[in-house]
């Protein structure tokens, strides 16, 4: 059996006691995604001292402060740019980036696509709650059309980004999307992601009842989870559906799993090439 450890055991092993309680609101999904990640680390038996957590700004970006690892809580949207420096300086460090949808896809959108293009060796846990939770429920680049936020009080009029598809197109090695309701699939995806070279991303639809649900007639977390069940379609089923049937739906599943060389390996090869070209090495 795989998941025998209690949540308390996981907490005591991996969380900073002096930082608890977390800042997360009741019903928030970030704690679930965090637990999946910690359990994945535990199951894989990864060395706690060889992992660095990086983040930008937002609710999910506070996660590195609660876990007992090296952590860099940076500026809004820039986590992956900081991660590039850490990883290339010390390739032995494994990097986990905890990001929100606004952080990753709006202010950090350019860093995201370029980190993926480079195939930076990093695992991104992307918390998608369709909103800016920390600042009080503004619309995000992921907010589905018609949903409300404080900066589009009459319903979002822009098209949303599909972050997972964006990551696939930009060249990520592994991309999956689940809701935090998909406990086992989510955890297994993180485990897969953590074992891979190059850029890996696991997106979680994650309830934010306080800033998002409340404004969209879903005041509690269970209501949001039920809504996820309604709007999500597993990949296998989606493949058989017509585009018009998929309107307003979010496809979940594993979108890509490939093994292109990561940035670290590419740079090591580049260094060798440089030395060879300059006659420093045979």
């Amino acid at each position: 059996m795989m998941y025998l450890k209690s949540a308390y055991e996981i907490r005591d092993k991996y969380m900073r006691k002096d930082m608890l309680p977390t800042i997360f609101c009741p019903g928030c999904g970030i704690g679930s995604a965090l637990q999946f990640t910690l359990r994945a680390i535990d199951d894989l038996g990864l060395n706690q001292d060889e992992i660095v957590w990086v983040s930008g700004i937002g609710c999910s970006s506070r996660v590195p402060g609660f876990v007992n690892f090296d952590g860099l809580h940076t500026t809004h949207g820039r986590a992956l740019a900081f991660a590039t420096g850490i990883k290339l300086t010390n390739p032995d460090l494994r990097i986990i980036a905890f990001m929100g949808d606004g952080d990753a896809a709006a202010i950090g959108g350019n860093h995201l696509i370029h980190a993926i293009r480079r195939n930076l060796d990093v695992t991104v846990i992307l918390i998608n709650n369709f909103t800016y939770g920390m600042t009080g429920g503004q619309v995000a680049p992921t907010t589905l059309k018609g949903l409300r936020g404080t900066t589009a009080p009459y319903g979002q009029f822009e098209n949303p980004f599909d972050i997972a598809q964006l990551a696939v197109s930009a060249g990520a090695n592994y991309v999956a999307r689940w809701s935090v309701f998909n406990y086992l699939q989510g955890m297994n995806s993180i485990k897969k992601a953590l074992q891979k070279e190059g850029f890996t991303l696991v997106e979680f639809l994650s309830p934010c009842p306080v800033s998002f649900g409340r404004r969209n007639r879903m005041k509690t977390s269970p209501e949001l989870l039920r809504w996820y069940q309604k709007i999500t379609v597993p990949l296998a089923k989606a493949k058989k559906m017509k585009p018009e049937e998929l309107e307003g739906k979010i496809v979940i599943g594993e979108f890509v799993d490939r093994d292109r060389p990561g940035l670290v390996r590419e740079y090591e090869a580049y260094k060798k090439r440089a030395k060879k070209m300059m006659g420093w090495e045979e």
């Binding site: 590195p64 300086t89 370029h114 030395k275």
Partner: protein, 382 residues
């Protein structure tokens, strides 16, 4: 250790190239950048050298990412640098503040060009003096150095790394387009001729638990770099000695920011450096920094030939600023002239230092040409 350029002898190179070579000799092993005139040649030299010395040179998607990457590299243990010009320097300001707040040693080079906005990409200016000092938001302290020759560009780059490492702070090296592209003879020393500083690392578990404390009483905490098992948490939020966010306690913020000021201001004597020419008996003082100092030196000679007792104070460190030395000078000279390639920036600092004890006159010049010595001399003669 093998170097990809000759050491222990002189060479005839550009200011940009001198900065790159100095960085390599200072131990810099991570460079991230984005192309921009007139700093691209620094990047191009780093791109050529870094892979050969087992370092990293990487082109990022913009200047925001460039400074972010070097901060990350620094926390992973590398000495790290980026270089840019005005537009890129503006983009870097937020993360420059992050480096100050998290006490991350980095070197940021700004080869100034005419601004604002895209301005005059290939022409020199000194319009970013105030931005280098005050560009990022909030109360902050950092070090700004300003070279005037290619040799100084080399020497000050090494000094920039040493100061950054010693005081766990970002250091800005403020050059200009003229210096960046000008070729001069430079002595590139042997590595054993150079004094190199590396940041303090924690000596034990106790020190490692205080990455933002003051265990040595000098205001500079040891830096528990990543991957050593210290489990350090670094945040741009106001934090306590252990690095824990404490954003609603006024005394925590006060203590942190005061220490960041103190660790630099308490060591001003070591950080501040300047040179004087003919200043001992001077009745007229010229105060300048960077490229303009070259013309100012010549102006002093011209004035002396004409019987005017002029002297020059050439500032190498422009932040922290030596207000005292300006005040002492103001007490014994009749008038102070400040030639600079902007509409008046250093001038305001000098006026504050002079404290009303001498008249201070600005010799502003913009448009992309350095003051000629005669332009300065004629203003003094009147």
């Amino acid at each position: 250790m093998r170097y990809p350029f000759p050491v222990g002898k002189s060479d005839f190179i550009q200011g940009d190239e001198a900065v790159a070579r100095a960085a390599i000799l200072a131990g810099c092993r991570f460079y991230a950048g984005y192309p921009i005139t007139p700093a691209s040649e620094i990047f191009e030299a780093m791109a050529l050298y870094m892979p050969l010395v087992d370092g990293v040179s990487i082109q990022m998607e913009d200047e925001i990412a460039s400074i972010a990457a070097i901060i990350g590299a620094s926390w992973a243990g590398a000495k790290a640098m980026t270089a840019t010009s005005g537009p890129g320097f503006s983009l870097m300001q937020e993360n420059l503040g992050y480096a100050i707040m998290t006490e991350t040693p980095i070197v940021v080079v700004n080869m100034m060009r005419g601004g604002p906005s895209t301005g005059q990409p290939t022409f020199p200016a000194q319009g970013d003096i105030m931005q280098a000092i005050w560009g990022t938001h909030g109360d902050h302290m950092l070090i700004v150095l300003s070279p005037s020759t290619v040799q100084e560009a080399f020497d000050f780059t090494i000094r920039a790394f040493n100061l950054a490492e010693k005081y766990r702070t970002p250091v800005v090296l403020l050059g200009d387009a003229e210096l960046a592209h000008m070729r001069e003879r430079v002595y590139i020393p042997n590595p054993d001729e150079i004094e190199i500083t590396y940041r303090k690392l924690p000596r034990n578990e106790e020190e490692a638990k205080l990455p933002f404390g003051d265990p040595h009483g000098d205001g500079v905490p040891p830096m528990p770099i990543f991957g050593k098992g210290y489990r350090t948490y670094v945040t741009g939020l106001t934090h306590d000695e252990h690095g824990r966010p404490r954003t609603v306690e006024p005394e925590v913020h006060q203590r942190l920011i005061s220490r960041i000021f103190r660790k630099i201001l308490d060591h001003r004597d070591e950080i501040i450096s300047y040179e004087t020419f003919e200043l001992d008996d001077a009745e007229i003082a010229i105060i300048s920094t960077g490229i303009v100092s070259r013309s100012a030196i010549r102006a002093v000679k011209i004035l002396r030939e004409r019987g005017v007792k002029a002297g020059l104070l050439k500032l190498h460190t422009i932040w922290p600023f030596d207000f005292e030395v300006i005040e002492e000078l103001a007490e014994r000279v009749r008038k102070i002239y400040v030639p600079e390639m902007n509409m008046g920036q250093l001038y305001h600092l000098v006026r504050e230092g002079a404290n009303g004890k001498a008249d201070v006159e600005l010799i502003a010049k913009i448009g992309g040409e350095v003051h000629t010595p005669m332009e300065i001399a004629e203003r003094v003669v009147g």
